[in-house]
Amino acid sequence: MKRKTLMINLAVPLMAVLFSLAVGALFILITGKNPFFVYSILFSGIFGNLYGIGQLFFYATPLIFTGLAVAFAFKAGLFNIGCEGQLYMGSLLCAWTGCVFSGLPGLLLIPVCLAAAAAGGAAWGFIPGMLKAKTGAHEVITTIMLNFIALAFTNYIVTSHFFVPGTVRTPQIAAAARLPAIAGILPGFKGSSLNFSFFIALAAALAVWYILYLSRFGYELRAMGYNPAAGEYAGVDSSKMMIVTLAVSGGISGLVGSNYVMGYKYYFEQGFSGGVGFMGIAVALLGKNHPFGIIAASLLFGGLSFGSLLVNSVVPKEILDILQAVVILSVVVGNTVFSRILLRNSATGDDKPDTQRADAIIGEQVSREGLRRK
């Protein structure tokens, strides 16, 4: 059973990616270009030199944060589609902190700015968590609505209160608050925007992995996501859990600010995200909600984002937007199709009752025995 789980977790995303590339080839053919030619530009542009690889990592960085944020909530059975709003609030607070506390030394200012980014996002995640826990308002709708409120709010701030005249952006943050660019340390990456935020993202992935799979908190979180009633029975305070989970998830989204505000442009600008909050959902799905899967999925989607710029002179870059949607749909449809096949196969010559078999296939370590032990 364990092998089957592994197979489905690897085979479905791989097939989804291959299928999407085939669909992409179809769209390239519509434009009258040769798909192999276009894909070869894509691959040589990304893997041909250190600049390409640097850009790949740079584009993957915000996706790692948002992918982790979605997955973290999803493991608790919560759907956070408010990453977009959370990362806007986090990034704006980060930029504000970097400007206002410019007197602090770098050793102190960088952690303070990171904390501000996380706090802004966490506050925006706390609201839907609180509403869900106290009133039962569904987090999907409240997070969608909060996205728009965050957009309107940040837009108001950068057009009316805290901005450089003639632009829709904040002033630049203090030099001490900036994360170093990798190109400044390794000259081979010259021209690439890759910065230290990438390592913060990797550290975040590691931390999420540790919390989810090795800590008691993560155990309770997954128990709640797996079976809320059983979780409650075992003593998990689900209201508190919802609030904390969505706040942490929002905080991870807010850290997107470390890449753009602290490591790239050094200011907050209206509309900077380019939809990475929503792409986080795709990343989490493709990465099977596992932190390491998410890093891989972020590299793929980051590659597509960067690659769309590389091929734009030959085919419309929107082909790669279409690909993202196709990846999402084929992963989820693939999951259903595969699990139907596996369930059908294992139904023969296996006398376990259905529910037990499903538990085994899902492969979650949260078993009923485990819960009772607590």
């Binding site: 039962g136 309107a152 929107e318 949607a325 989820v332 899902i362």
Partner: protein, 298 residues
């Protein structure tokens, strides 16, 4: 003064039409048990199809039909993945929205050679009424649709069956109702109406501009919730949202400065408030978002 009020009211209606159409569509989809956050993307595809239709067929009425068709086709993708493949409805809706942005831009470049806007199209002829003057026939159609939607949903066997599938599909199934068929119909109707909403947007501007739905599908979603999942309620909510925007525009031209961002946030704030039950709680159909029959999945 009456002119001023009339202007505000007419503009309210014009702003509200796409919200009303898509929100009533959403009511049908969700009443049948399928969450549709893809309204935004469906609207966008509808807008693009209506422009291409009008451009090539030379008749805005045929364009309108093309827009509705485009909306239905997009919604059927959502329906197949949610109903046939039991994909999470939210995930599918998000994919539809991303897909629509990409595919409309792609064909915009291919057909019209621009990444920002299409060629201009022939607009619909206005119908002239006494006092209020010329208005688009789509407004008349919208009024008709709202009344019809209310009647269908609450006064016909089809409506009762549709709602049964959203409240308790197992009970509906045991009475011989084809749950799948009902859900496909619900989603397709939402696609048709959101497609029409998109066509209206395109007709208003006589062209397609990239990403022109700009969040209206989500405002429609908000109107649907604020209207407690009923056609008349959703329409009322859409009109309130439209009125707020219209007043803000008029007040701004008079020099009083309410931040437009504040007005833009009103629909979203109100939705959160009613959803959390602070004022008159709004509750979705019981089985919305749940696949039927329930299936073990990985």
């Amino acid at each position: 003064m009456t002119d001023f009020v009339l202007n505000i009211l007419l503009q309210t209606v014009r702003i509200s039409v796409p919200y009303i159409l898509a929100a009533v569509g959403g009511v049908f989809s969700e009443s049948s048990g399928v969450i549709n956050i893809g309204l935004e993307g469906i609207m966008l595809n509808g807008a693009f199809c209506s422009v291409v239709g009008t451009y090539y067929l030379g008749n805005p009425w045929l364009g309108l039909i093309a827009g509705v068709t485009g909306g239905i086709i997009t919604s059927v993708i959502h329906a197949v993945s949610c109903i046939r493949y039991k994909v999470n409805h939210i995930v599918s809706g998000v994919a539809i929205n991303i897909f629509a942005v990409g595919i409309t831009k792609f064909f915009l470049i291919l057909v019209f050679g621009s990444s920002s806007n299409s060629a201009r199209i022939i607009p619909l002829k206005l119908i002239t009424f006494p006092v209020i003057g010329g208005i688009s026939p789509v407004i008349v159609i919208t009024v008709f649709i709202v009344v019809l939607a209310h009647v269908i949903l609450f006064k016909t066997p089809f409506g009762l069956r549709l709602r049964a599938c959203g409240e308790n599909p197992a009970a509906a199934d045991s009475l011989g109702i084809n749950v799948w068929l009902m859900r496909y119909s619900g989603v397709a109707i939402s696609g048709a109406l959101a497609g029409l909403a998109g066509a209206w947007l395109a007709m208003q501007q006589s062209q397609f501009t990239s990403n022109m739905s700009s969040g209206r599908g989500f405002i429609a979603l908000a109107a649907m919730i604020f209207g407690k999942w009923t056609p008349l309620g959703a329409t009322g909510a859409a009109l309130i949202f439209g009125l707020a925007e219209s007043i803000q525009i008029h007040v701004q031209t008079m020099g009083v400065n309410i931040p437009s961002q504040f007005i833009q946030s009103i629909p979203y704030l109100l939705t959160i408030i009613v959803l959390s039950g602070l004022i008159g709680r709004s509750e979705p159909p019981a089985a919305v978002g749940k696949p039927y029959p329930e299936e073990l999945s990985l």
